[in-house]
C-alpha cells in the first residue's frame, strides 16, 4: 500500500519533468514497436481459414511435443547442476570462481550459430571427444540429445546468473543464525537459503526457459532439422514458411502463447509473501 502511493507521487512529479515527457513518448513508441507485430501476427492468424487445422496438425503437434520435452529436460539439468554451482559462485571469492563467473557470460554474447559449430567440433563425429564417444557407441550430433545440449548451452547462463545474484542477496548471517539454532548446514540450505533465493531463481528459470524454447541457430547447426527428432517449434516455423504461411502462423501463435504462459506462471511464483530483507 505504502509503496503504491510512493509510485503515484513519483509519477505525478515526473509528469512535468522533461525526462518524464521524453520517457512517456518513449514508452508509447516502445509499446507500438513491440505490440504491432504481435497484434499483426494474431490478426493474420485469425484471418486464415485453416488456422485450427494447422494448429492441430500432426506436424505442429509433433514439433510442440518435442519443444516441450527437450526444454523441460534442459531446464531440469540446468536447475539441478546450476543451483549448487551458482551457490558456489555466490559464496566464493577465490580467483578461479571469478574466472569461471565471467566464463558463464560467454554463451550470452556468442552467436548461437557459432555455438552450434563449436559443439559440432567438440561432439561431432570427428570432433574432439565425439570420435571417442563414437567408438563407445554414443552419438550426439543430429539427435534429440543434441537439441538438449544446444538449449543448455545457450540458456543456462540466464538461470545461473540470476540464481547467483539470488544467493548473494541472502546474508551469510541468516545461515550462521540457523546453524547456531541447531540446524545442519545441509538443512540450512534447504530451509533458509533456497527459499530466500527462490524468487531470483524463478526469474532466471523463466528467462532460461524462454530462451530454450526459442533456440534456433545452435540447434540448426548441431542437431539439424529432422521431424519428430530434432525439429523444434522454431525450426518447424522456418520450414513451414517455405511451404505454407498458414502453418508458420499457427506455430508462431502457439509459441507466443507458450511464452506468455511461462511468463505468467513464473510471475506468480516470484511473488514474495515477505518484504525487503
Amino acid at each position: 500500500m505504502a509503496s503504491r502511493s510512493v509510485t503515484i507521487d513519483a509519477v505525478s512529479r515526473l509528469r512535468n519533468h522533461p525526462i518524464g515527457v521524453l520517457g512517456g513518448s518513449g514508452a508509447v513508441l516502445y509499446v507500438l514497436f513491440i505490440g504491432l507485430p504481435v497484434i499483426a501476427l494474431l490478426v493474420r492468424a485469425s484471418q486464415q481459414s485453416g488456422f485450427l487445422d494447422a494448429v492441430t496438425s500432426d506436424a505442429a503437434l509433433t514439433a510442440l511435443r518435442l519443444s516441450l520435452l527437450t526444454s523441460m529436460i534442459s531446464m531440469a539439468v540446468v536447475v539441478l547442476l546450476g543451483t549448487p554451482f551458482a551457490y558456489l559462485l555466490a559464496r566464493s571469492d577465490r580467483l578461479w570462481a571469478r574466472v569461471v563467473d565471467s566464463l558463464v557470460e560467454l554463451p550470452l554474447v556468442l552467436p548461437p550459430v557459432v555455438a552450434g559449430v563449436a559443439m559440432l567440433m567438440a561432439f561431432g563425429r570427428n570432433g574432439l571427444i565425439g570420435s571417442g564417444l563414437e567408438t563407445l557407441g554414443i552419438t550426439i550430433p543430429f539427435t534429440t540429445t543434441a537439441v538438449v545440449f544446444a538449449q543448455i548451452f545457450v540458456a543456462s547462463p540466464f538461470f545461473i546468473r540470476s540464481a547467483k545474484l539470488g544467493f548473494q542477496s541472502v546474508s551469510k548471517d541468516y545461515e550462521d543464525m540457523a546453524q547456531t539454532l541447531g540446524v545442519s548446514p545441509w538443512r540450512t540450505f534447504f530451509r533458509i537459503t533456497l527459499p530466500l533465493a527462490a524468487p531470483a531463481m524463478f526469474t532466471g528459470l523463466g528467462l532460461a526457459w524462454a530462451r530454450a524454447l526459442s533456440e534456433f541457430g545452435a540447434t540448426m547447426m548441431f542437431a539439424g532439422n529432422l521431424i519428430g527428432e530434432t525439429q523444434t517449434m522454431p525450426l518447424a516455423i522456418m520450414s513451414a514458411m517455405e511451404t505454407s504461411l498458414d502453418g508458420a502462423l499457427a506455430l508462431s501463435v502457439m509459441l507466443l502463447a507458450g511464452s506468455v504462459l511461462v511468463l505468467a506462471v513464473l510471475g506468480l511464483l516470484t511473488r514474495r509473501r515477505w518484504q525487503g530483507r
Binding site: 550462521d176 543464525m177 540457523a178 546453524q179 547456531t180 539454532l181 541447531g182 530466500l196 514474495r272
Partner: protein, 405 residues
Amino acid sequence: MMDKALDKQADGTTATGWVECQVGGFHLETNWEIQPGQVLVLFGPSGAGKSTTLRAIAGLLRPVRGHVEVGGQVVYHGGGGGDEIWVPTHNRRLGYLTQQYHLFPHLNVAANIAFGLPDRRSPAGRERVLELSGLFQLDGLEDRYPWELSGGQQQRVALARALASRPAMLLLDEPFASLDAELRRTLRRELRAMLAQSPVPVMLVTHDREEALALGDSVQVIDEGRTLVTGDPLEVLGQPGQGRVARLVGVENLFDLTVQERNPRDGTMTCVGPGLRLEVPLDTQVSGSAAHDGGEDRVTVAIRASDIILAKEDLAGSSARNRLPGEVITVESRPPGYAVTLNCSNYGDSAQLLRCHITGGALEEMEIRPGQRLWAVFKASSCFLVDEARSSDDRPPWSAPEYPA
C-alpha cells in the same frame, strides 16, 4: 508459567574456555569462566574483539588455538597437545542473539521461534512455541511476518527463538542496541527474570555502561584483542583501576598530578599539577608502587563527569573538598542530559579542561552558556586514583590457561 517454560534448560553447567584467534591482521586472546545463571559482560570499543570471541565460541570462526567447553562438553580443542576437537556450530547447543536479530523473513513468528526445534511439527513442538510466545508477550502475533513487527517485538521473537531448544549457553551480541532506552530497560528486566528461572551461563557483548551495570555479574574489559581487566561491574566501571580501562569505560576526567602533601588524619592527600590543586583519597599503595620522580609521587586522578556539581557561586562552607572556579567553554547535548566543558584553574597560571554532566533542567535553570563563570564542586571521595603504569605494554605476557587434553 516461567519455570514450566524453561525448566529443562537448567543445565547447571559452567561455560569455560580460552581462545586465540587471528582474523586478518587482528589478534585476539581471551579466556572466560561463567557460572550457570551468571552474566559475563564483554565491554570495550568496537573492533576490540568482543564479537570475535562470541563467534569463536559459536564455532562460526576457527581459533588458532584454544579450548572451549559448553554445557559440560568440549566443543573445541586445538593448537596444543592431543587431537583437535571441532564440534560444528549446529551441535554446540547455543543460543546466539545479534543486534540485527536476523529473523528469517520468509517465516512467520511461530515458524521463527520453532525453527531450531527438532519436533517443531509435533504437538509438543507447537506447545513449546505457545509457551515461549506467552513468556515473551507475543501472543496473537504468531502468524505475523518479521517485517510486520516493531523493533521490540522482533527482539522478543529472536530471544524466544534462541531459547526454544534450551541452549546450554547464551551468547548475546549487543542484543538491545537498536532499541530505545525504555524498551531496552524492559527487555533487560525480562532477561534478568528469565535467567533467574533458567540458570544458563550468559556472555553479553555491549559498549553501554548502563547495560553492563544492569545485567553483568562480572565485567571483562577488552581492547585491541586483549583482556585488560575482569571484575565486579561496579568496581571496574565505577572506579576503574587502570588509566586505559578508565578511558575505555568512559571516565571523562583524568589528570596527571604530583602528591604535594599527605593528610593521614583525613584520609586524603593534596595533589597538584598544571592549573589544578585537588584533594583526593589517600592511597597507601601509591607511595610504594607508583613511579618516584625525583622524590615526588606522581599519580593519575580520575573524576567522573556525573560526580561534579556546578554552582554559580563559591560554595565556601560546604563539605566538598574541591571547589574550582572556571569558565564555560562548550555546552553539548548528551542525551538524556548535557555535557559542559569548563576551563578550570585553582593553582598556578595554567588551566585544565573539566567535563561535567548535568540535566537539561539544571542547564535551563542556571542559564548556562559559553563564557559564563561557574564553580565546579566535588568531594574528595569522588576522585579516584588510576594506575597509568599498568598499561598494555607493561603487563605480564598473556598465558593460556592449561587444560587437560
